[in-house]
């Protein structure tokens, strides 16, 4: 009997029957049955807004179901708070960060389980040991707000694992990890499984689900489509179940011919020798109009920081900080506003902390882009213009929401990402930097966003795509830059690049 068949016969420890969740009368989850067995990895798949996060939040006590029952070890339960669920043994890693930004990594790990007297040194040492045992290279004394998205994600994962829960729900844990960290994460997941921990795993990377899950459940529009053994699926079957029709063509597996690669236009940006503390070191490169420059690098390679310097979010070193020229004109931005005025837009990888305005509606978020860029130089705001803009862009990006004045917090993760992208593009950039543009976005929407990015490049913009996902880099880029230890170390043409070569350059 193989391992996955064994788990197949095990009794479920969580059983959800006919679970529904209504938001303002509109169902986000409709009468879904879901069960989780001891020691299994259960992948939960579906398009953006399918209800994956909502269903698992019901399980973890974050939201209460509007209908249906849930049993835990055979007893009917209804958790009223995440704390209750955690006490019982269910932990959840959220899609968006829930760490306290002003505290250190170690303090976040022990948040809620502090002893009466906390010795800082003590928790640093045990946090260090714990992180090492997971193979996560994060400094326990670092303040969370200084960490990039990937490291935060690792801290979140570590925090959930640390609780020794029987059930751990991972909501898109791999979205901002690079291949190396992903490997560690999956190793961890299998170690947990062999200890008997049951895992719910939500991801938009279907091959991850196929490779690691024992069972797969697919939701569409809040309804259960199918639950079955992973072996019963292949990529195409999953996609069909997710979207209810066959998607034309694969997104990633096409190899681009030399004639499809865009030629560089004029050089818009030339970066020479820039440095910022010890994160960006003597980094030099150029960016050209009318093509997509892909940037790959492992975590800590300084790729995000480099482009935050370019877009004025961070200041480069005052002494020996290097030079940046925009169309031959030297620039030194002290605030992002100056860069925005020059048409340089940075679309963030961390939408919650620095991307959207959560108390505001989709329309207000989109309109804020226009206002901030001050394209119209008007002193007053126009609600009519705002509505028209919102209509145009939600249509173009296919943003799905419960209704038109939904606030951005009420959107599913992937739809939030689309709003953030729209907000940036409304500012009419000439150089646009996408940092992980498809983080948390479903297969169909990835294709749409890629199309959008391609169209931007075709219309003559200089486009930069930073991504941890190699297929995305290979598929989009007309030029691939590899970043390591704070500088661009190699450049590839897409027809000569292979995943192995890029990884090699990023690591060695």
């Amino acid at each position: 009997m193989s391992a996955s068949e064994q788990t197949a016969t095990a009794a479920p420890i969580v059983e959800m029957r006919k679970i529904s969740k209504l938001y303002r009368g509109v169902p986000a989850v409709k009468e879904v049955d879901f069960d989780l067995r001891k020691g299994e990895i259960h992948a939960l798949l579906g398009e953006n807004g399918a209800g994956k996060s909502t269903l698992t939040k019901v399980m973890a006590g974050v939201v209460t179901a509007s209908g249906g029952t849930m049993t835990w070890h055979g007893k009917e339960v209804s958790f009223q708070s995440p704390f209750e669920a955690l006490e019982a043994g269910i932990a959840m890693v959220f899609q968006e960060t829930s760490l306290v930004p002003s505290m250190t990594v170690a303090q976040n790990l022990y948040l809620g389980s502090e002893k009466f007297l906390n010795r800082l040194r003590g928790i640093y040492i045990s946090a260090q040991q714990f992180l090492q045992s997971l193979n996560f290279a994060v400094d326990p004394t670092a303040i969370v707000s200084t960490l990039g998205a990937a490291k935060r994600q690792m801290v979140e994962i570590a925090r959930a694992v640390h609780h020794n829960a029987e059930v751990i729900i991972f909501d898109e844990p791999t979205a901002s990890l690079t291949p190396e960290e992903k490997r560690h994460f999956f190793a961890l997941m299998h170690r947990l499984k062999s200890r008997g921990v049951s895992i719910v795993f939500i991801s938009h990377a279907l091959e991850e689900a196929l490779a690691h899950a024992d069972r797969i459940t697919i939701l569409r529009d809040g309804e259960l489509v199918v639950t079955d053994h992973a072996g019963a699926f292949d990529r195409e079957k999953i996609v069909r179940a997710m979207v209810g029709r066959t998607l034309s063509g694969e997104i990633y597996n096409k190899k681009r011919g030399a004639d499809e690669i865009r030629k560089p236009g004029s050089r818009v940006l030339s970066v020479q020798d820039i440095s910022m503390s010890n994160v960006v070191r003597n980094n030099s490169f150029s960016i050209y109009e009318g093509q997509i420059t892909g940037v790959f690098g492992l975590i800590g390679s300084g790729r995000t920081e480099t482009f935050k310097v370019v877009s004025g979010i961070y200041k480069r070193d005052f002494f020996a900080g290097g030079a940046i020229e925009l169309e031959g004109r030297p620039v030194r931005y002290t605030v992002p506003r100056e860069a925005v005025k020059d048409g340089i837009i940075y679309v963030t990888e961390d939408r919650k902390t620095e991307g959207f305005f959560e108390t505001m509606s989709i329309a207000e978020n989109l309109y804020s882009g226009l206002l901030a860029a001050n394209l119209e130089k008007k002193a007053y705001i126009s609600l009519r213009e705002m509505r028209a803009l919102a209509k145009d862009w939600t249509g173009r990006l296919n943003v799905k929401a419960i209704n038109d004045n939904a606030r951005v917090v009420e959107l599913s993760g992937g739809n939030q990402q689309k709003v953030v992208i729209g907000k940036g593009l409304i500012q009419q950039p000439r150089i646009v930097i996408f940092d992980e543009p498809t983080r948390g976005v479903d297969v169909g929407a990835i294709a749409e966003i890629h199309q959008l990015i391609n169209r931007l490049a075709d219309s003559g913009l200089a486009v930069i795509v930073i991504s941890s996902y190699l297929p995305e880099i290979m598929n989009l880029s007309d030029r691939i830059l590899v970043c390591r230890q704070g500088r661009i170390v190699e450049e590839f043409a897409p027809d000569e690049a292979t995943e192995e070569k890029i990884m090699y350059a990023a690591v060695h």
Binding site: K57, V335, T359, V409
Partner: protein
């Protein structure tokens, strides 16, 4: 039913509370509105004036808080700028010149607050606390001679309550001023680009900065607005009591101003709230303060009651409008 309950936001609750309190006081509290069965306007006018002064300060404070700042120097600026202005008038400085100096001083304090917060990255709470002490100390020791500075006879400030508009409608000038402040504040926040910027900064400062909102100039701007509002409030105070006593700086007034904002429903974490929140907050605090004074409550008892009201409002709001666990953790105080 739940539909209905979900409309019961903090501001609605506070408004209902204020209205109930007003009715109860009018009926059961002799001296509030009726004395020996006869209508008497005196107390109501006093109350409305107190509410207005508090309200004008709260308009400035509200704008600052929505933009994720706080201005602890508001009351000091109110008292000291007007005291200095009166002192100049008393010692014979020509009217326009004195007004110019006083306004310049007010704007300067706002600018310094704003620059320190925006450009030197010092937390607002320290900057404005320091400037509160500085303004008080400097003006009291260098520019004025005693705690109470009377308004010179015949000054325009004393004429304010006798304006044609006021005498014909019997509505105190303070109410017009408060109304105007709220209206202008409303237009500014709701319809101008800069008003939007303030909401953006309060909601997510990093996002606002990164997308090109001029966060530093805007910060400076709202501290200047707050300082100017404080000056207006000071002028009105003087018009009703004919002098300015700077001991008010050491009173509870600043807390009352912040209380008006918070109780009305302006979130201290920023990005949340409107001018109407200031109005309901000012109404409640004003009516309560007045009623309690008539009932001879001591200051200590009054503070106790205010604190209980504040806690209740916050708890009820939390129960009726629970926040999503996943989104609740950042930016909360």
């Amino acid at each position: 039913m739940t539909r209905l309950l979900s409309h019961l936001t903090q501001e609605v609750i506070v408004f209902l509370l204020a209205a109930t309190l007003f009715l109860a006081a009018a009926i059961f509290l002799p001296g509030f509105m009726f004395k020996d069965g006869a209508f008497q306007a005196g107390n109501l006018i006093a109350m409305v004036r107190a509410v207005s002064v508090l309200g004008i300060l709260a308009v400035g404070m509200g704008i600052v808080i929505i933009g994720r700042g706080i201005d602890l120097s508001a009351v000091a600026v109110m008292a000291m700028s007007v005291a200095w202005y009166l002192q100049m008038l008393n010692s014979g400085v020509p009217g326009w010149q004195a007004l110019g100096w006083a306004l310049a001083g007010v704007v300067a304090v706002g600018l310094i607050n704003g620059f320190m917060v925006a450009y030197a990255d010092v937390p607002a709470i320290f900057v404005t606390l320091a400037s509160s002490y500085f303004v008080y100390g400097f003006v009291r020791s260098q520019l004025i001679v005693s705690d109470a500075t009377p308004a010179p006879a015949g000054s325009w400030i004393l004429e304010l309550p006798n304006l044609g508009l006021v005498t014909s409608t019997h509505i105190p000038i303070d109410v017009y001023a408060f109304g105007a402040a709220v209206f202008v504040g409303f237009l500014f926040l709701r319809f101008t680009k800069w008003g939007r910027y303030i909401y953006l900064m309060g909601d997510n400062f990093m996002a606002a900065r990164n997308m090109g909102v001029p966060v530093r100039p805007m910060t400076v701007l709202y501290y200047v607005i707050s300082a100017l509002m404080a000056f207006v409030a000071g002028i009105l105070t003087t018009s009703s009591i004919q002098s300015m006593n700077v001991r008010v700086v050491n009173s509870n007034m600043l807390y009352d101003v912040i209380l008006v904002c918070v109780i009305g429903g302006i979130g201290l974490s920023g990005g949340k709230g409107y001018m109407r929140n200031v109005v309901v907050g000012a109404l409640l605090i004003g009516i309560m303060g007045n009623a309690m004074t008539i009932m001879d409550f001591t200051n200590v008892e009054q503070n106790l009651i205010k604190s209980i009201i504040l806690l209740t409002a916050i708890i009820i709001d939390g129960l009726l409008n629970p926040r999503d666990e996943q989104t609740a953790q950042q930016g909360d105080i």
